[in-house]
């Protein structure tokens, strides 16, 4: 393939991945999935009932793998059995996958709230009705852009894997990156805005999450608003970079041309990883020296 065309496809995949990463993180934040979930789950037990959507669909990688694999399957069926165009097939697949994700979200929220009867956590139906469509919307965007990436890989870049399998793998990847990158912003910062920055989550503070918003009672959509300022975009950049840089090395140094090019692509990949590690280290030491280590004041005793 023309290297320039390859770069163009790669740029498109990177852009799609950036959006997918951002929407994935926001989707998980609306429903407090994965990391922040346990604190929201624990809150009623600590006498802190709340109005926050709390869905536990087995962590982000499997739940995103599920919706992307369903989307990829339906899109693939639509293209092969009905001869639908790619755009319609992917849209249709993403829509069905997002609605199914919505049923998973709703059943886990209502189920877990009902299983906390003894802690007197009420089930607010307006939270179900207002948050589930938002979750479906974000899930649609994530699935759609993951399918765009998977389709470009299988049809333009001639990846040997079929579309559903690629979508499945990218679903796990986007879920893993969303879980590791974006959740910190919601879990440690948003839920514990009332404690000093950098203090971590003290065991005595477990379940003592911030339940009141800028106005009124806080809910999952408020959290998505907060996370869309930093957590979501940074997840998008992380996932976009992962897709772009991992494809870049083999597009510039195409192993199909010669064995030397293959080795050059390996070296380029190692160089990128080394630069990222060094860059991360510099940022970390800079942040530590600028903001300093968190020091707990002796006089201020934390009470449970």
């Amino acid at each position: 393939m023309d290297p320039l065309l390859g770069m163009g496809v790669l740029a498109l995949m990177g852009a799609a991945a950036t959006i997918a990463g951002a929407t994935e993180d926001l989707e998980s934040d609306v429903g407090s999935q994965s990391n922040p979930n346990s604190q929201v789950q624990l809150a009623p037990q600590m006498m802190h009932p709340h109005r926050i959507y709390n869905k536990a669909i087995s962590g982000e990688p499997p739940s995103n793998a599920l919706m992307c694999a369903i989307g990829g399957t339906i899109a693939s069926v639509m293209m092969s059995a009905y001869g639908l165009s790619v755009v319609f097939a992917i849209t249709f697949g993403a829509a069905i996958a997002a609605v199914i994700h919505g049923t998973y979200a709703a059943s886990s929220f209502m189920g877990r709230v009902s299983s906390q009867k003894r802690f007197k956590q009420p089930l607010y139906l307006d939270i179900v009705r207002s948050h589930t469509p938002v979750i479906i919307g974000y899930a649609f965007l994530t699935t759609f852009f993951i399918l765009v990436i998977s389709y470009l890989m299988s049809s333009v870049l001639n990846h040997p894997f079929p579309l559903p399998l690629l979508a499945f793998i990218w679903g796990i990847t986007v879920g893993a990156i969303g879980s590791s990158t974006g959740d910190v912003h919601y879990g440690a910062e948003r839920e514990y805005q009332n404690v000093e920055f950098g203090s971590g989550i003290n065991a005595a503070n477990s379940g003592d999450i911030v339940r009141h918003g800028e106005s009124g009672l806080r809910n999952g959509i408020d959290n998505a608003w907060f996370c869309s300022k930093f957590g979501g975009p940074v997840t998008g950049i992380a996932f976009g970079m992962t897709v772009f840089l991992s494809g870049w090395v083999t597009t510039v140094f195409n192993p199909g041309e010669s064995i030397t090019m293959g080795w050059l692509s390996v070296i380029a990949g190692l160089l990128i990883v080394a630069i990222l590690i060094i860059g991360n280290r510099i940022i970390e030491t800079w942040a530590r020296s600028t903001y300093g280590p968190y020091q707990e004041e002796e006089s201020e005793e934390v009470t449970a």
């Binding site: 006498m47 694999a69 877990r112 559903p164």
Partner: protein, 270 residues
């Protein structure tokens, strides 16, 4: 996860042994009935394998519930993944070597692998869950039956010559893997908590199983041996019934189901 199971044997109205029988017999009868009826009459009967898949999913969910009640929280998803992973290996092996006995060989192989995993987990790693060996055997067996049943729903047969190009080569097997795993692990994971009830968890199992059947029905449009419309309709009907039942149980079990409202006061929480 901080809020795990209640840390003891699971309780509930329906005896787990009955659910084991329901799962094994239901799934195997479903798979074989679909296979023979599709061969003898026509592809419209492929949906019976979907009913078999629901039986094995509900059994798997019940087994997950039973073992996870010993205090597993974040371990619930892991154990579901383990189930379907073991099931995948076993069912591909069984279908590849078994021909007409494929589903049974898959099931037996999965049970053996599951038993070994259970023994490793309890004796070597020392997890100390009394029913670990039995539960891992059950979960792996349920996983393998789910995979075989969903594959049969998609293609009308469990013969590897048809499964290989229609289900594995096309990549739909990845979807079967993840939807099978989630259907088995999600019911207990979704209802995790000290006030979990068996009927509510199992109704979620039926609901998630029905979704898997609907998707398998959509895939069936691509294959000659299976019909999609009956499968989708049956799946949609079971989904609606199960979800209505689930919502009934929610209204029964929740502390309060309110349209909207402010948080309970300190006095109300006392």
């Amino acid at each position: 996860m901080s809020a795990g199971g209640s840390g003891g044997p699971a309780t509930g109205g329906i005896d787990h042994n009955k659910i084991i029988i329901f799962g094994i017999i239901g799934a195997l009868v479903g798979i074989y009935a679909a296979y023979f009826l599709v061969n003898a009459i026509g592809s419209a009967f492929s949906f019976i394998a979907g009913l078999g898949a629901i039986c094995s999913i509900v059994w798997g969910a019940s087994a997950v519930r039973r073992v996870s009640n010993y205090g597993l929280g974040t371990g619930v998803p892991s154990i579901g993944m383990l189930a379907i992973g073991t099931g995948m290996v076993a069912s591909l092996f069984g279908m590849a070597v078994g021909s007409i006995a494929g589903p049974i060989i898959s099931f037996v192989t999965a049970c053996i692998i599951g038993l070994v995993i259970g023994i490793l987990a309890n004796r070597i790693i020392g997890m100390g869950i009394p029913i670990m060996e039995q539960s891992m055997t059950e979960i792996a067996g349920a996983g393998s039956l789910t995979i075989v049943a969903l594959s049969t729903t998609m293609s009308g047969t469990f013969m590897i010559e048809t499964i290989l190009p229609n289900v594995i080569g096309t990549g739909y097997i990845a979807m079967i893997f993840i939807i099978g795993a989630l259907s088995i692990l999600h019911p207990f994971n979704a209802n995790l908590g000290p006030d979990e009830h068996q009927d509510r968890t199992l109704s979620t199992g039926f609901e998630k199983g029905a979704i898997a059947v609907i998707i398998a029905g959509i895939v069936a449009t691509t294959t000659a041996g299976a019909a999609s419309i009956p499968t989708i309709l049956v799946g949609a009907f079971i989904w609606y019934t199960a979800f209505s039942k689930f919502y009934e149980y929610i209204k029964r079990d929740a502390h309060k189901v309110v349209g909207t409202g402010v948080l309970p006061t300190e006095e109300e929480l006392e």
